[in-house]
Amino acid sequence: MISVLNTIDTGHEDMIHDAELDYYGLRLATCSSDNSVKIYDIKSGTQTLAADLKGHFGPVWQVAWAHPKYGNLLASCSYDRKVIIWKEAGEWTKLYEYTGHESSVNSVAWAPAEYGLVLACCSSDGSISIISYNQDAANWDVKKISGAHAIGVNSISWCPAISADLSLDPLTNKEASKRLVSGGCDNLIKIWKEQGDQWVEENRLEMHMDWVRDVAWAPSLGLQKSLIASCSQDKRVVIWTSDDNVSWTPTILNTFDDVVWSVSWSLTGNILAISGGDNKVSLWRESADGQWQCISEVSKGLGQTSNDERSTL
């Protein structure tokens, strides 16, 4: 069902912490504990190193590509408390460096392209920053949510613009509110809503019993409801559903053998990819009767699959 498209030898000198393809799926960005970010051009089974970005002085935790209508922009966040926005104009250069956090920046996420060039990032200092590019003044505005989560914020995700629109009553003819979801060390998931020029806490979701490691807002189409997946140190993955983006109902998807590190929704079809400390990746889908089922799993080290190019999940 699933075939290997490409195996990329990243050449990183240490473990990698994140990898993401750009909007078109033509380039791969990876980041690593060796403090570097690398960009590869991916073409049908081959890859070429396009750039090796050095600017962080600590392990780089996450990378994120912006929508291509803003150019080739990549954001990266690191243990060194910085967020760097890289831009390709001929060659890759630093476009902007954000140093407003006092501890490791754990996650970055670009807002839906409809909202303009806006980046959210969150840090172990407990705060969330929303950095937006002001086109007229040609500078970056920063709004900070201080004390978003006690101890630290581990993950952040935007409500997709279309999901936001879906929940909107079309007759009121209003702009849909921008929303963010964040997960932190206080075992909470919080939903933030932009009101005026402020970000206010709209909801807090309590279910997890340990640090929340990752949250993901699904681009859920066709279901006419919003979905958020969250995973935690407590080895559980929880799916939160809402009809109006205001009240949320939790469902425990599964309890795993080890800590769960990441959750990711597919663009369409609401398939959830889950991975964790046990080195395993699994894919989940909601069946017609509302049960979440594992549809695919991979357990062995993927570093070994190079000899077995046709291996399937």
Binding site: M1, F57, P170, L267, G269, S275, K280
Partner: protein, 946 residues
């Protein structure tokens, strides 16, 4: 720029002694030279440089003296320690001529690398050795050390803090440990300072928490031990640095380079560098070989600091510090009328002045004082000084000792604490000012402490010159200075507190808040690609005793026992600092390497162990990770999703003719072999036909049409189909069906408006015309306004006119607003998928059918002035002249269709013509002189996200 400066006042050469170590005693008048054969004490006297008084004592030893040191306290000034091999011998120099060994300290099992007498207690001496131990001995009971500080790596340096009497620093390879000897189980602080061996450590004479390290890696780093994650300052030299010591005055630094052998600039050996504020400003040249030891001569006048050095060239030299240098270091300089510059050659002096003119701007006060001085010579005794002290606000005399001629002052104001010790010299002359030094507990930052000292010294000097008692005035100065320090904001004081007390704990807490790095992840990217990476199969997790799952925070990385020998876990003060200098020579940001090493170590501890056995060799990052570089695997998961790119390419979007569209798509899917969806399209075609037929009926009989509208084959069927495919997550089919019926969907919307307003309505419903295709193609994401609406634009307008016919039969199929909205969302989502597939034309066709509201997104619009009447227009033709608004610069005809305009000179033309023109020319075809191709590009740069 540095001034080459030879200012040695005296030089003696003692080849026969073969001394390897040198020390100057408390009085500053006796120099001990220790070698394998001889111990020698040389008496220094400035007045008499011909008299070479030296006493030699034979010493028979197989080993060189690794270190020699005088005790620097008054009661212990006759004591000196000689370190040799594994032993430290303590000698007493009795009656000025008898050097007797009073005890031998035996306890180290390897060569002793350094000794250091306690700065106050002459019975206490610290010794360190490469056997990893640092012992503290009480000379009254020398059989075994009173305290032993244990480390993992051998110690090369031991230094008592100059301010706080219980703090001692030791250097181990590239790391520094700070100990409180009262708590000997673990160091207070652990500083991962350098990549290579640390040769020298020196505590700041002014500040309790500051020290400077010099290393073989060529760098000199200033640390605040309370915030040791990163050095406060780094000086990079291009040679290994043997010693870096603070100047007792101001903020300067003296360095000795080492290891010139093999380097071309051998003649540079023996040069002592003087650094002020991070730049090498002076070099003391004279020694012809490497300088082994340099010490500040104790008990010199503040105006006359002297440096004593011993070099491998077997010469002992004394250097004086030039007054301009002292000034540069922000040191208050009492200016004597009889100060002589004789020692310095004129040429070099002027060069010093010239080079430093800009830095000496702040000495004007000193000169004023000089002019106003009144000379009264009356003697004041120590008793009078102490008696003069009256009660003052903010000043508290905590200790006063006539015996030792010292008093201690405590002052507190605005959250600042200053503890000052005043020492009156023994051989007091009328104009000798007391010595001021800071004691522990002072929390004023070091630049300020230097400034305060400067003003106190200035006051003292002025008062002495006038023949008054100075102490009272000095204390007044101190009180005012403390008052004048800007008040800290509450944040600052909080952070100050934390830095004072629990920095190391908070650092721990910092890492304990950072989630454990993830090393395995799967992320959906694009439409159906799964990006996966995880650890290679050979990675095994380090098993922790008390934890079964994967740890949650990065601080867990420090809890790996057994890796670094027993005892490390207990001494590790902060989590991520792995102790040994691993990997990456030339990898400058040392303080950040911890986490990365640790995470690798966590999973590849076998490799780590193997690696750490290979001590001495340079380790590269590649060998440390040893494993193949991490892989990322991309999986194509197209089969999981019912959408298909090939189908998207073939689908026909023709909203103007829904029946035809449905039928053709049904045939298409039948060819593709998807009978189910093909059937759905067939049903849709039926529905479309009934709706279409009804519109014809509508013209004839409204009653019939009402009947058809309620027929299940109309709206309900379509709605059922769309929602079925949406629920089964087939966005493609759902969105395409809504495309086919978007005309009907929109009827509700247009019904509220006049049915005649077709073209404006058309503009609303299709904000996306073909211009946007070009804009998306442009690599920068910059929608290029140069490309003007093409012919297809007018086609779009034609389409809209067609709609108007259909839209009039709005009653045919009325969807509620929510459903219409939902369908538009489907179309937008599908357009996004098409965009990711780079099917830009298909995307545009879909987006045309999406209801407005996204106008803000459409930024690539162009306006221009009509070439005849000058009115602005957005259309291809001018509304007033009814002619094409643009005139081609090449063929001089009106432009319809694609046009290109220069952003700078605004001349435009047919795209074809312009492209052809610019293949051969680079200037504008109108002859306006604009170099359109080059200059127009530069106009766009810097406009948006460039």
């Amino acid at each position: 720029m540095s001034v080459h400066w030879s200012s040695e006042t005296m030089k003696w050469e003692y080849r026969e002694l073969q001394a390897t170590a040198m020390s100057v005693d408390y009085s500053g008048n006796n120099v001990l030279l220790a070698g394998r054969r001889w111990l020698a004490i040389k008496q220094l006297s400035i007045d008499d440089d011909t008299g070479d008084i030296i006493k030699k004592y034979p010493r028979q030893s197989k080993y060189d003296a690794a270190g020699a040191e005088w005790c620097q306290t008054y009661p212990g000034q006759k004591l000196c320690a000689i370190a040799s091999n594994q032993r430290v011998d303590v000698y007493e120099w009795r009656a000025g001529n008898d050097l007797t060994c009073i005890c031998s300290l035996k306890g180290h099992t390897r060569v002793v690398s350094d000794t250091h007498f306690h700065r106050q207690d002459h019975n206490l001496i610290a010794t360190c050795s490469i056997d990893t131990f640092t012992h503290l001995w009480d000379l009254r009971d020398s059989r075994k050390p009173v305290v032993s500080l244990s480390a993992v790596a051998g110690a090369s340096q031991v230094q008592w803090n100059k301010v706080a009497s219980h703090i001692v620093a030791t250097a181990h390879d590239g790391d520094i440990k700070i100990w409180d000897y009262r708590k000997n189980s673990a160091p207070l602080h652990y500083i991962s300072a350098h990549l290579c061996k640390i040769h020298g450590v020196d505590w700041s004479p002014h500040h309790e928490y500051q020290l400077v390290t010099s290393s073989h890696d060529g760098s000199i780093k200033y640390f605040d031990i309370n915030n040791a994650r990163r050095p406060e300052n780094v000086i990079m030299t291009n040679f290994p640095v043997w010693r870096a010591i603070y100047t007792p005055f101001g903020s300067g630094l003296l360095t000795i380079g080492v290891g010139w052998g093999g380097l071309p600039r051998v003649e540079q050996a023996g040069v002592i560098g003087i650094w002020i504020e991070g730049t090498l400003t002076h070099r003391l040249a004279g020694h012809t070989d490497t300088v082994q030891t340099m010490v500040w001569r104790p008990n010199t006048l503040p105006s006359n600091y002297q440096l004593i050095t011993w070099g491998r060239d077997q010469t002992l030299r004394i250097w004086t510090m030039h007054p301009t240098l002292l000034k540069m270091c922000s040191h208050f300089l009492p200016v004597d009328s009889d100060s002589d510059y004789d020692n310095i050659s004129d040429g070099s002096y002027t060069s010093v002045i010239n080079s430093m003119n800009d830095l000496t701007g702040n000495d004007s006060k000193g000169q004023e004082i000089l002019m106003n001085k009144i000379v009264h010579k009356t003697t004041t005794s120590i008793d009078e000084e102490f008696e003069s002290i009256r009660e003052m606000a903010n000043i508290e005399v905590t200790d006063m000792n006539i015996e030792t001629r010292t008093c201690q002052i405590h002052s507190e104001r605005n959250g600042y604490t200053a503890n000052l010790q005043v020492t009156f010299p023994r051989n007091v002359t009328e104009q000798t000012i007391p010595k001021f030094s800071w004691l522990s507990g002072t929390n004023v930052d070091s630049p300020t402490t230097i400034k305060i000292l400067q003003s106190i010294n200035r006051t003292a000097y002025r008062k002495k010159k006038e023949g008054h008692r100075c102490l009272l005035h000095c204390l007044k100065t101190l009180a005012t200075s403390i008052d004048e320090i800007p008040v800290k904001s509450s944040d600052d004081s909080d952070s100050m507190k934390s830095s004072q007390r629990s920095q190391s704990e908070s650092e721990n807490a910092g890492d304990s808040c950072i989630p454990f790095p993830r090393t395995c992840s799967a992320k959906w990217c694009g439409v159906s690609t799964l990006v996966v990476f995880n650890r290679p199969a050979n990675a095994r997790r380090f098993s922790l005793k008390h934890e079964t799952g994967t740890p949650r925070s990065m601080s867990s990385l420090s809890l790996m026992p057994g890796l670094f020998g027993s005892g490390y876990t207990s001494v590790s003060p902060h989590a991520t600092t792995t102790p040994s200098p691993t990997n990456a020579s030339g990898f400058p940001q040392l303080h950040h390497r911890h986490a990365s090493n640790s995470i690798t170590t966590f999973y590849f501890q076998d490799r780590w162990k193997a690696q750490s056995r290979r001590t001495g060799s340079m380790r590269s990052r590649h060998s440390i990770s040893g494993l193949a570089s991490p892989r990322v695997v991309l999986y194509a998961a197209d089969a999981l999703f019912p959408i298909s790119r090939t189908l998207a390419e073939k689908y026909i979007i023709d909203a103007s003719n829904p029946v035809d569209m449905c039928e053709r798509n049904a045939r298409l899917l039948a060819e593709e072999g998807d009978s189910e969806v093909s059937h759905a399209w067939g049903l849709a075609a039926l529905a479309a036909r009934s709706l279409g037929a009804q519109s014809v009926d509508h013209l004839m009989s409204s009653e019939e049409s009402m009947g058809w509208a309620g027929h299940p084959l109309c709206c309900n069927l379509i709605q059922a189909l769309v929602s079925h495919y949406a629920k089964s997550s087939d966005l493609q089919t759902a969105a395409m069906l809504t495309c086919a019926f978007s005309v009907f969907n929109d009827s509700e919307n247009s019904s509220s408006q006049s049915t005649i307003s077709t073209s404006s309505c058309g503009n609303n419903t299709s904000p996306y015309n073909t211009v946007n295709q070009y804009s998306e193609i442009s690599a920068d994401g910059w929608t290029l306004p140069i490309i003007i609406r093409s012919n297809s634009c007018s086609e779009a307008e034609n389409l809209n006119t067609d709609y108007s016919l259909l839209k009039s039969d709005r009653s045919a199929c009325v969807l509620d607003e929510a459903t219409v909205h939902l369908y538009h969302c489907f179309k937008r989502a599908y357009a996004d998928v098409l965009h990711r597939w780079q099917l830009l034309y298909k995307r545009t066709e879909v987006m045309k059918l999406v209801r407005g509201k996204c106008d803000t997104e459409y930024e690539g619009d162009a306006r221009w002035e009509c070439s005849r009447c000058g009115r602005g227009t957005r259309n291809a033709s001018c509304g007033a002249c009814r002619r094409p608004a643009l005139t081609c610069a090449v063929c001089a005809r009106g432009v319809r269709g694609l046009a290109v305009a220069c952003a700078l000179c605004t001349h435009a033309g047919h795209a074809q013509h312009m492209l052809k023109w610019f293949t051969q020319h680079d200037t504008c075809p109108t002859g306006c002189g604009c170099k359109c191709v080059m200059e127009a590009n530069s106009v766009w740069k810097g406009v948006k996200y460039v």
